[in-house]
Amino acid sequence: MRLPQGRLRKSRVVTDPREPLAEVLDRTVTGYAVFEAQDSLLLDADGRGVVTFEDGVPVVAYHTGTDRGGPPALADLAVPGPYHVSVFELDAADLDPVHEVEALRVPPGMPAERLAGDPALADSTRRAAPGERPTVPGADGEGDHSAVEAFLEDEDKIAAIREQARQEARQRAAEWGLNDT
């Protein structure tokens, strides 16, 4: 997926992808956000996830590391850790060629619902979506679980998440004196 360089509007580290999604919606940004995992210990942390927006509503998703687009790209960019997120503005006309690629498209509410786990933000996003886009859960894949299923099919990533949690639990048990319980 090729996009013209946009005008950098914001760049920062966030712990939760909900924050940039909410902010982009709030400010009705047309452009794209680049998500980069900060924790290189996790597999699939290579590469960046890109989500484009039109008036704050997500349109397409793509991951440079896996070269996948659409809902699976949301799974690829999901990591349990901080992200570096950069938001760029771009004219709608410059986004059109990418937005026309059906395989890259994601339903408007899916990033908020499945990636950020925020149904209320997903509902707000669907309400803000233009009429021609599906806004009712279940219509045109809007309510489907494909991003979650793609995440669950990534056995290496899940093994890495579990291993990281195990290490954290052991380390904290030692710190908290829970070893003997």
Binding site: G117, P137, A165, R170, R172, A173, L178
Partner: protein, 254 residues
Amino acid sequence: MVEVFAVASGKGGTGKTTSTVALGMALAERYDVTVVDADTGMANLLFHAGLSDAETTLHDVLAESAAVEAATYDRFGMTVVPCGTSLDGFRDADPARLREVVATLAADTDVILLDSPPALDSRAAVLPVVMADRAVVVLQPTIPAISDGLKVQEYATSYGTDVAGILFNKVREDGIERVAEKTERYFDGPTLGAVPESERAREARRAGRPLLAHAPGCDAAAAYRRAADSLTVRDGASGDVADRFRSAVIPEPP
């Protein structure tokens, strides 16, 4: 007999308290059930069980200013131990005393459900999961909820607590079966159920009543009953559990 379950999720907003109370009511048809609000920093069980005006709560017990018996209430066929919501109460409460509270309750009930904090970032937050025999992990079908649920499982098993099963809650769309099947592969326990998102659950919360009392015929209530039916309670000797809790090494408060 007694078995202690932590009802846990790594993330807030999954409907954990609604689930705790619903599972408790459903299990109360077969067992003597006690539900405890072990989320001492963000208590809300009292609002779900019509106990918002309870004078004595777990906070008082954890502050050693009341006996456990004074903070237990018979509601909806269960024994309910609510926690208070005041900051002062939280400050004075020593979460490590929860061990003694559970040990006392274990002597006289079949099932204890601990409504656990939706976090793993402090000793107090993980304590219910550490103390329980098994954990019920409440999930929503989202990537962060499942990731956090996996973390809960790893913490639980690291501390010798088994996973009784996973419970999907607030399910809004069809197709949960495939998600459940794929999720189940990574969890040590089965999928106990998938509870649809429900306006009745929100109404019940506003009315200060458990969902199974407010709208027993609704789809969500039926799903909770099926989940409770699929939960086989193990036969632990009450005395053993009480002894185990009393002898558990609990860290000093920070």
